[in-house]
């Protein structure tokens, strides 16, 4: 059954509304808050004083007194209200970032991952270690860290921070909540990397199109293939999901994939698959663990100079992507596709196959070709996605936790 509603909930929702406005548009004055949220000035007053008393937002110290009239006082998040640690796990390194409540980067370092030591056990100790280090370095109390946001390629559980499968650890699952809950009171969330790219691009898209934005897919090309989908739900909330696209079946009984199955999309469009095709290695050869990008650059260069076999290798990869995307569009509505990742440098070679694959399906014939868009700088998008998601969640959690209401009742 659905949950009942109450006046308290109304207040919570509207408080989140104020915090969200602050997040999206930076420091805002009373009047602007009222404009953005459509709440009356009086309500904004009550909410801001509550949030201020709870030490969640603060009035900016100084501001240029432009224009006449009573000068506006800008509200902004209190940076020390809480902290977020972002952990980005990639195949060769793990990046740790400490971010304050206002979204400002405080500290960051990267740990190389040894290619040989690949057990989950050693990874976890490394993770715990690095997390301890990053709070120690900035001399923060660890309970000021309200959230730890982790991302990896692979298959993540939607409701719990459990990594089900990843190209790095294979079927060795990691339950990050279980691993960290003894040392950390922070909430632990996990996202697929491309899911977070989708979140970031989706936010950009909404800023541009406003209410017209409906859905968007992000496709990440690299050693493995990732897909993230973001859709505007009712009430304008963005719902993000991470389909297991790279390991969706492309061709029954097809080439061997790193995951152990046969015929996955990745086994045709991943870097190792392109390599395999270019060198005419049999399709059931165990794929290379890691392919240096220089290797692929060479293949691409010769393809661009007319090498038949290499052109076909890229074309076949594009085809697998295009057909796979057409299947995605069959199952959802048609939507624009943002392509990121290191593989975008071969976009010219992939495009033909992608288009051809897409064109084959009924949906595309009905609705027309979806918009394809290349977005470089995947790492920035991933980080932005982390911030978007984690900080929005923090806002909600803080309001829901009741600190605001409690303080309020004490002071009368």
């Amino acid at each position: 059954m659905l949950a009942k509603s109450s006046t308290e909930l109304v207040r919570q929702k509207n408080s989140v509304l104020v915090l969200t406005a602050l997040r999206r548009h930076g420091p805002l004055a009373h009047t602007e808050l009222s404009d953005f949220t459509k709440l009356s000035s009086a309500t904004v007053s009550v909410i801001t004083t509550d949030l201020e008393r709870a030490q969640i937002i603060e009035k900016a110290e100084q501001q240029a007194a432009g224009g006449r009239g009573r000068p506006r006082v800008l509200f902004s998040q209190r940076r020390d209200c809480g902290y977020l640690i972002v952990v980005i796990i990639s195949s060769d390194a793990v990046q740790y970032s400490l971010v304050d409540y206002a979204g400002r980067l405080i500290d960051r370092f990267t740990e190389e991952r040894q290619q040989n030591v690949s057990g989950v056990g050693s990874f976890v100790t490394g993770l715990r270690d690095a997390l301890n280090r990053i709070v120690a370095r900035s001399r923060l109390s660890r309970d000021k860290v309200l959230m730890i946001s982790i991302s990896s390629k692979g298959l993540v559980e939607s409701s719990e921070p459990v990594l089900r499968w990843s190209p790095i650890f294979g079927r060795e699952q990691i339950d990050f909540a279980a691993v960290l809950h003894d040392e950390w009171s922070a909430k632990v969330i996990l996202g697929n990397e491309t899911q977070l790219v989708a979140a970031a691009v989706g936010r950009q898209e909404e800023n541009k199109k406003g209410r017209d934005f409906r859905a968007l897919a992000a496709l990440s090309l690299g050693h493995s293939i990732g897909l993230g989908i973001v859709r505007r739900g009712e009430e304008g909330k963005h719902e993000i999901s991470a389909p297991n696209f790279g390991h969706m079946l492309h061709m029954s009984g097809g080439g061997l994939c790193r995951c152990g199955s046969r015929g996955c999309i990745e086994a045709y469009a991943g870097f190792y698959a392109i390599l395999r095709a270019a060198f005419d290695v049999p399709l059931d050869t165990i794929p290379a663990k890691f392919v240096p990008i220089a290797e692929l650059d060479k293949i691409a260069a010769s393809a661009r100079q007319g090498s038949r076999r290499n052109i076909i290798a890229f074309r076949q990869a594009g085809l697998a992507l295009g057909i796979g995307l057409s299947r995605v569009l069959s199952l959802h509505e048609s939507m624009p596709i943002a392509i990121t990742g290191p593989g975008t440098r071969y976009y010219d070679l992939l495009l033909e196959g992608i288009s051809e694959g897409l064109a084959e399906s009924h949906v595309v014939r009905m609705e027309g070709m979806p918009e394809l868009r290349v977005m470089a700088d995947e790492p920035t998008l991933v980080f932005d996605g982390h911030l978007n998601r984690a900080l929005a969640m923090m806002d909600e959690d803080i309001v829901r936790s009741g600190v605001v209401a409690e303080l309020n009742s004490q002071t009368g």
Copy 2:
């Protein structure tokens, strides 16, 4: 930006909550309403008296006075509060049902569709005609009809009642809102047939499992192939969608489909496809417009007696379904699959192929085989799905329309 919240909205939501409880559990007394909705007795009182004053619900006249204490008075929907017309379009007929606000069937008739006259124009005049007839027969004022709920196989728009593509009318689109708005003030909604099956089965499932229910897919087997997906969104609302599954690409460059594309799932698993395979007709033969089920029964009978070719025909159909489903599960989470439609009578012959197709994919190897379940009596499920969806919408619309609040302010 998200929408602001207010006390009015709270009331609306809680009113809908009361109406929903009434829908799901039949006539209820004050106390039971309070239990189901978790609202306090006082709040239930206010809401019910408002709804009663607005002539949306009423107290039951008579009831058996079992047990001691003050006898409970049961509330139920006023049947004359509004009416719903359900239109179920199938390939050979169109069924019209008139239903009152409490969900009781008042009138029903079926119009055969001539196989030869297949233009959209003549269909639309037939539709308008039949709608007029059904209100005339029951002597209702047409503005008492608050909603017209239509279903068809094929591709429907999610936000508007527009039929984008259907096996019956092909690419000739029908915008039902445009077609009916001059004669009817009722809200017109359109759903894919299997989407409504999913809605009905999803409701059953939730009654059984409660909060454990997460998602479910309904697969309809027949001349064409349909898929509906229902998922529990946050706040417990069911989100239903109708992927274009039948025309998702099964095999690149494969058999010719009725839709004009090649290699659709339907071109392997639809009735005509099974027929085509059984008689070894070339895959690019224009598929039969309609296959009598007796024909397929014969093929099935001989398959069950060991006919190699016919066994393979069904197995290939199952394989297309299984592989397609595996792709669906790759893109969503794993979920149980309810199979309906006339094709279920060949389930024994299809099962092997379905299982094999599912087993091939990465997800199934990870999460295990999804639960498969055969549900006969598709027509009842479709109709139930219509009622579930349309009546729930009517409840919301009525509350949101403000009749309750208005009356309230007048009478003070």
